[in-house]
Symmetry: C2
Subunit: 478 residues, 2 copies
């Protein structure tokens, strides 16, 4: 059987039907279960386990950069949500409204938070009086709700888990810096933990957050060449502060409005993990985010001493790794497929002959490579291989992204590329909403961002040929 | 100034008005802020910090006992909530209902979870097929919503944070054991981490969870002698399994209904911490749950070398303790009051004379004791004192509870005690709902539980004088 052949007949070939492959993987890897609530899923232990590792590592990064966690109510009185005009216009169509409590009708209906800017604003209004109270660097882990027409597990669900950072600053300069710094935190997390390369950039006016002055984004490329907006950070200016009257007395004793930011990433990242690293045998998880990094599978476990040896190896290794031992009565072959489907980075096989020879077999999930290692210094060997897998997944994803990134100069070439190749198209843009809209309408491709690293391809807009000084990335997106 | 005198004029004397004292403390210690949503509060960084430490430590205990975390949707279709009759009857009056999504009216309105039994049941129905799939030992950290008439921060809010465990088992015996074991986990956590002594027992039929066969509870006593139901664990029998058709094929290949449990504790625990340990200077936190265990306050910090010395001490100690250094320009006296209000267990004072003598002053929050210690082995000294504080808070709470626990034999004595003394009343009960109801109506006291440790006081019911074999605890409760 060749390395790339699909051993598990139950999942669809990703090259034939990527969408169905994705749906098969989320279910077969036991990440989610469908729920009786439209557009909502159940995060099963394995799926939630990934989220717990995401939370733990991101939370540490937030705290190291001076942020504190808080918790705001999940409800927003309808009257309050309407205070910032752009913001309410952006979210109103997606908001769920509560009109009844028990048998009682509510006078001011409650909305379920689609995001919590207005609640943070209400709190800041009270908590901020003087420059001494600034900056406020807050974050919260919670779920938010947006009523979406079409939903897909992790990528777009009615309710989803996320973190939302909300900060208030004395100056515009400081707030802009915060928004940019948090994008760097996200980039670091994506590249070094999730092993997903990202492009940093600015959103166009049309694509920016409802109520923001500027939205920074990280965009990543999925296996099929489509883009995933993976995290955003907004400089909100002082518009919310003016709408909500958030002022402070500055050092010159002058009453001034604060400048704010907000930033968030969500369980959507798990969708990204699946679509960047997965293959026809299922999920592939980078070791840093894998709930189980090593699975021990005893071979011929009914033979005397095998289970015992597997057990002592497990006990020895569990201090250093997230490791499991599977001694159920399924066949080794069945177990191999199961943990491949779940994307466990490293399989450790241990049979009677191995025990006799004081060795074990290590098999990598990402490339199928097997290695026989001595039990004596197996910890070091495992640590080394896990590190290699982490690096190699990132490199592979980076190569895939680069292979599907095109520099395009003419509309003909653009049409050909977006239709037949998919991927990221680097092209020049005149910054007009009309050109942006035209390309979206004609090809279903959007401006993902104006990348930080500008590559000037020509001097004219790809769409209208008028003068253009900005390079953007066009792509179809999830 | 005497030790018990109220140094901070802004808070009410707890002996004059305990309710107002509580309200003052939650606000002044910056645990919460009021929100624009009826009955909901904002958990500020200090309040949420306590919750994070609770979560971290409880979560470890749950995982050590084999439980896995999951996440269920926050919505329950109205039709689904109505499937288990007792359950819906218990919760219906408190449920918030969503009727509108954007501008669209919902055909089957969505309820916001007041608790998630029915969602777990729906999932179990699919995920459990064979005895091999059992037990399922799940937990989730989330918020739930109950529309309450009167609310108080932490004790009773419309939305509150909690954990809810949900498990499914092959046999009644195993499920009953699980429900009892989780009560032991709660007891352990309360006594060893929160330093709050608890009484374990069984709830009466009237007080048990809507849909449960049996509810186990831990009850704790607040400073004012009132009870706080602090955690509950329910053996649900197979009633939910029958209503939701959760069956499995057992080892004899017979289709059988599972037996279930659920158990939960909430941010209510923080209310307990405040009301058990606090005093007229504010909050007192046990070191194991204190976001800041030690606060370093430099004395005469403008003198050369003081800030530097405080900084290096901070750097040296931060590996071992949750510690902060306050170098703001407030006076030391102001800072003392502030951290006393926040209940930081230990204050470390460091001034020019201390630095010269190679020493520091340690002041305990719980009893005001001061000790001069050498900087050389200060880590050991701090660790020792924190341990002493932890123990001493538990002992003090236990003594307070015992001092306000009364064995009562007659209704006259009962009336006198519950009216004038408050506290826990141990008395005999005939197990009739009428007597339970009568005492509730006459005195506002409820049966908190039938304690595990039965103390047979007489042979007749305190209320009706008929034969009684069960000893219960009566108290007024939050």
């Amino acid at each position: 059987m060749s390395k790339n052949q699909n051993k598990n007949e139950a999942i669809t070939d990703m090259n034939k039907d990527f969408t169905q492959w994705y749906t098969d993987v989320v279910k077969k890897a036991e990440l989610i279960d469908y729920s009786p609530v439209r557009g909502c899923v159940v995060l099963r232990p394995y799926g939630y386990g990934i989220w717990e590792l995401i939370q733990k590592q991101l939370d540490t990064m937030f705290k190291e950069t001076g942020h504190e966690n808080v918790y705001m109510p999940m409800f927003i009185p309808k009257s309050l949500l309407q205070k910032e005009a752009d913001h309410v216009e952006g979210f109103a169509p997606e908001v769920l409204t509560i009109t009844k409590a028990g048998e009682e009708d509510l006078a001011d209906p409650l909305c379920i938070r689609p995001t919590s800017e207005v609640l943070f604003c209400e709190h800041f209004k009270d908590a901020i009086q003087s420059y001494r109270d600034l900056p406020k660097l807050y974050n919260q882990w919670c779920s938010v709700v947006r009523w979406e027409k079409t939903t897909r597990p992790f990528l777009r669900t009615t309710e989803f888990l996320w973190q939302e950072g909300h900060t208030a600053h004395a100056t515009e300069e400081e707030a802009r810096l915060e928004a940019k710094n948090m994008l760097e935190v996200y980039k670091d997390f994506f590249e070094n933990v999730l092993a997903i390369p990202v492009i940093r950039g600015l959103k166009s006016e049309k694509e920016k957050f409802a109520g923001a002055v500027e939205t920074y984004t990280i965009e990543s490329m999925m296996h099929d060449g489509k883009a995933l907006q993976s995290g955003t950070s907004h400089y909100l200016g002082n518009g919310f502060a003016k709408a909500f009257d958030i002022t402070f007395t500055d050092k010159e004793n002058k009453l001034t409005h604060v400048h704010q930011t907000s930033w968030g990433v969500s369980t959507r990242m798990i969708g990204g993990l699946i679509m960047v690293h997965g293959d026809n045998n299922g999920l592939i998880l980078p070791p840093k985010i894998a709930p189980t990094q090593v699975i021990i599978i005893p071979i011929a476990q009914n033979k005397e001493g095998v289970i015992n040896a597997a057990n002592s190896l497990y006990e020895k290794l569990k201090k250093d790794f997230r490791i499991k031992l599977d001694t159920t009565d399924k066949t080794p072959g069945f177990k191999f497929s199961e943990y491949e489907m779940k994307g466990v980075p490293l399989r450790l096989e241990l049979g009677p002959k191995d025990i006799e020879a004081g060795q074990a077999v290590l098999a990598r999930r990402d490339n199928g490579e097997k290695k026989i290692v001595s039990l004596e210094n197996i910890e070091k060997e495992i640590a080394k291989i896990l590190e290699e897998i982490q690096k190699s997944l990132y490199e592979k994803a980076k190569e895939a992204k680069e292979a599907k990134t095109y520099k395009i100069n003419t509309m003909n070439e653009f049409a050909e590329t977006i239709t037949n190749k998919q991927g990221f198209i680097k092209a020049m843009w005149c910054e007009s909403g009309e050109c942006e809209e035209k390309i979206k309408k004609d090809f279903g491709a959007t401006i993902r961002c104006l990348p930080y690293e500008q590559e000037i391809i020509s001097e004219t807009c790809i769409c209208c040929n008028s003068k253009a000084s900005k390079q953007v990335i066009f792509a179809k997106a999830y």
